[in-house]
Amino acid sequence: MTTPEEDHRSAVSYWTMEVVVAIVLLLLGALVMFDAARIGARWSDDGPQAGYFPFYVGLILCAVSIVTLVGSLRRTVLQGHSFVSTGQLQLIMKLLLPFAVYIAVLKLLGIYVASAIFIAYFMLRLGDFPRWLTAIVPAGTVVVLFLLFERWFKVPLPKGPLESLLGLG
C-alpha cells in the first residue's frame, strides 16, 4: 500500500490547467466586456461612460488570455508535466473539504462551535494525539477566541444555538 505522499502519479497535467485557466479568463474578459457594453462603453459629451474603463480591461484580459492560450496549446511538452499529483491532491482535499464544510455550517452553528469541531476533527483525523489533548486544544482555542473577540476587541462573531442557550449571544 502506498501512502498518499508517495503517490506521484499526475492527477492533472500542467498543460490542461494552463489551457483551462486561459479559457476561463477569456470568458471572464468577454463577460466584463459584455456588461460594460450594456451600460455604455463609449465616449459621451461628459467624458467616458461608466463602462468605458471596464470595457478595455475586459478587452485586454481577452487579448492576453488568447495569446497565453495559443502559446500553451502549442507547448504540448507541458502535457508531461504534472500540475498536481494524485497524492498531493488527496492531501489538499483532506484540508479543503472539511474547511468547506466548516464555512458552510458556521452560520448555522455559530463560529465558536464550528471551530471547536473543526479543530477536533483535524486532530482525530490527521494526528495521533491522546484523548485529553483532543478535548483540551479545541476547547481552549475557542475560549481564547471568544475572550479575544467578544470581550477584548468587542467584535461580535456569528453565534449559534449553543451560545443563546448559555446566554452568551
Binding site: Q88, Y102, I103, F129, F149, L157
Partner: protein, 501 residues
C-alpha cells in the same frame, strides 16, 4: 532641516509613549509569529488584524500594524534559514546561502547576520524616508488628476516591466484586479457595474478579503501539498555567536551599502522587495572576491538579500504615504487601513497629520531596534512554533483567516468569497500568475479610474493631458518605457541575431 528634527523628536515622543511602545512590542511579536507560520504573511496577517483596529487611534493602529510588518520581515528569515521555507517571496534569496549555513551547523551565524542585515537595511531606508518624505510631499502638492493617473500608470507598468518572465500573466492578473475593483456602484455616474443582479455584489469586492484568500488560504494549500513535514535545523543563538558574527559583519559594509541602495530604489519604484532581494544577491555575488562560494553557505549571501528586502519593504511606505501608491501588497493593506481610519493619504497627510506621519517614522526606528532585540533573543521560541503539529496549526490558521474575513464587514458571505479567492490563489501560484498585481489593481483600480476620468473631463477627452505638465510627462514616458522594455529587450537580441546571419 531643523524643522524635520523637531518633527521627528515630536514623533519619538508619540511613538515612545508607554501605550504605543506596548503596541509596538505586541506588533513585533505577532509579526514574527505571522512571518514564521505558513499561510500567514505580512500582507494577510495585517489584513486579518486590520478590522480590530477600526476603533483605535490611527497613530497607535499604524504603529502596531507596521510593526507587524517589520516582525514578519524578520520572521521570514527564520524559516528561510532553519527550514528552507521562505516565509515571504522576498526571503527566497535568503535561503540560497542561509539554509546551507544552517546545515553546516552555523544557523546562529546565519540568523544573526540576517537579522542584523535586515536592521541595517531598514535603518538606512528610514533615514532616507526621514529626509525624503517632506521633499516628496512638497513635490506631490503640485499633483492633479493627470499626475496622479501617471503615477498609477507607472506603478502598473513597473510591475509588468519587472516580471519579465511572465509579462502576459502579470497583465492578466492585473486586469482581473481592475475588473474586480469595478464591480459595484460606479462612483461617477451611480450606475451598477458587473453585479449581474446579485445584491451581494453591490458593495463590490473588498481587497482585504482577496488578500486573506489569495495569500492565506492559497499558501496553506501549497504547504499542505508539500506533505507537512518541517525538517529544520536546531535553533540556538548564544551571545557568543551573536558577538562573533557582529565582529565579522563589518567586513561586508560595502555589500550592505550596495544592497541597501538597490533596496531603497526598488522600494520606491513599486513592485520592489522581491526583485530587490534577488538583484542584491546577484550584485553581491558578482562583486565578491569569492563569488564561487555563493550558494554553499556564504554569510555575505545572507546579508545582501536581507538588507535589500528590508530596505525595499521600508521605503515602500514612502510612496504609500506621500502619493497613496503602495509599493507592495503589504503597503497596500496599510493604505487600506489609512482610508478606513479616515485619513487621506497624499501630500496633505504631511501637513495635516504631523503626529501620525512622524509618529510612524519614529516608530520605524524604534520598532526595528526592538524587533532586532526580540528576534535575537527569541529564536528558539519562534522556531518551536513550527514544531507544533500541523494537524493543530492548519485548522487554527484556517479559522483565523475565516474570522479575519468575517470581521471586515461582519458578513458571512465574505468568508465564502475568501474560500473562492483561496482556490484561485493556489491555482495562480502554481501556474505562475503573480498575485501582487491583482491586489494592487484591486486597491488602486477605482482611484486610477477616477483620476483618469477626471483628467478626461479636464481635457475634454484629449489624452495629451498626460504629457502637458512636466511631472506628468516624465512619469508617463517612464511608464511607457518600462512597459515596452521587456518587449524591446526580447526582440532586440533576436533582431540582432537575424541581422548578423
Amino acid at each position: 532641516m531643523l524643522e524635520q528634527f523637531a518633527a521627528l523628536a515630536q514623533g519619538f515622543a508619540v511613538a515612545a509613549s508607554p501605550e504605543n511602545f506596548l503596541l509596538m512590542l505586541v506588533g513585533i511579536l505577532l509579526g514574527v509569529v505571522i512571518g514564521v507560520l505558513p499561510g500567514l504573511g505580512g500582507a494577510n496577517g495585517i489584513a486579518i488584524l486590520l478590522p480590530l483596529t477600526f476603533s483605535m487611534n490611527p497613530t497607535s493602529a499604524i504603529i502596531m500594524l507596521s510593526c507587524i510588518y517589520w516582525g514578519a520581515l524578520f520572521g521570514g528569515a527564520i524559516t528561510s534559514i532553519l527550514f528552507n521555507i521562505p516565509g515571504e517571496p522576498w526571503s527566497v534569496a535568503t535561503t540560497f546561502d542561509g539554509y546551507p549555513l544552517a546545515q553546516q551547523g552555523k544557523a546562529g551565524t546565519a540568523l544573526t547576520a540576517a537579522f542584523t542585515a535586515s536592521f541595517v537595511g531598514a535603518l538606512l531606508a528610514v533615514l532616507l524616508i526621514t529626509f525624503m518624505a517632506p521633499l516628496v510631499a512638497t513635490f506631490a502638492l503640485r499633483f492633479g488628476p493627470p499626475e496622479f493617473f501617471s503615477v498609477y500608470l507607472l506603478t502598473f507598468c513597473a510591475f509588468i516591466g519587472m516580471n519579465r518572465g511572465a509579462a502576459l500573466k502579470t497583465v492578466a492578473s492585473m486586469m482581473i484586479g481592475f475588473g474586480l475593483a469595478a464591480v459595484g456602484l460606479d462612483t461617477v455616474t451611480g450606475r451598477l457595474r458587473l453585479t449581474f443582479g446579485f445584491t451581494e455584489m453591490l458593495k463590490g469586492f473588498d481587497f482585504l478579503i482577496a488578500v486573506i484568500g489569495l495569500f492565506g488560504i492559497g499558501e496553506i494549500l501549497l504547504t499542505m501539498e508539500e506533505g507537512l513535514s518541517f525538517r529544520g535545523s536546531k535553533a540556538r543563538l548564544s551571545l557568543r555567536v551573536v558577538l562573533e558574527t557582529w565582529r565579522e559583519l563589518p567586513r561586508y559594509w560595502l555589500s550592505s551599502l550596495r544592497s541597501a541602495a538597490v533596496g531603497c530604489l526598488m522600494g520606491i519604484v513599486p513592485g520592489g522587495a522581491t526583485p530587490a532581494s534577488f538583484m542584491a544577491y546577484g550584485v553581491a555575488k558578482r562583486f565578491s572576491p569569492d563569488s564561487d562560494r555563493f550558494g554553499r553557505g556564504q554569510v555575505e549571501g545572507v546579508v545582501a538579500p536581507e538588507t535589500a528586502a528590508h530596505a525595499a519593504g521600508t521605503t515602500a511606505l514612502l510612496p504609500m504615504m506621500a502619493l497613496g501608491v503602495p509599493g507592495s501588497p503589504t503597503a497596500a493593506v496599510l493604505l487600506g487601513g489609512l482610508l478606513i481610519w479616515g485619513l487621506q493619504p497624499g501630500p496633505l497627510l504631511f501637513v495635516e497629520q504631523k503626529d501620525f506621519v512622524w509618529g510612524l517614522i519614529a516608530s520605524m526606528y524604534l520598532g526595528n531596534l526592538t524587533g532586532l532585540l526580540v528576534v535575537l533573543s527569541g529564536v528558539p521560541l519562534f522556531a518551536a512554533i513550527l514544531r507544533v503539529p500541523f494537524a493543530i496549526i492548519a485548522p487554527v490558521i484556517l479559522i483565523i483567516c475565516a474570522v479575519g474575513a468575517y470581521t471586515v464587514h461582519n458578513s458571512v458571505f465574505d468568508i465564502y468569497l475568501m474560500f473562492g479567492f483561496g482556490i484561485v490563489g493556489y491555482v495562480f501560484k502554481k501556474l505562475n500568475y503573480p498575485l501582487a498585481p491583482l491586489v494592487l489593481a484591486l486597491v488602486l483600480g477605482d482611484r486610477a479610474e477616477d483620476s483618469f476620468r477626471q483628467s478626461m473631463l479636464l481635457s475634454q477627452g484629449n489624452l495629451g493631458i498626460f504629457f502637458d505638465s512636466g511631472i506628468a510627462a516624465v512619469l508617463t514616458t517612464l511608464a511607457i518605457v518600462l512597459l515596452v522594455w521587456p518587449l524591446v529587450s526580447t526582440l532586440l537580441p533576436r533582431a540582432r541575431r537575424a541581422a548578423a546571419q
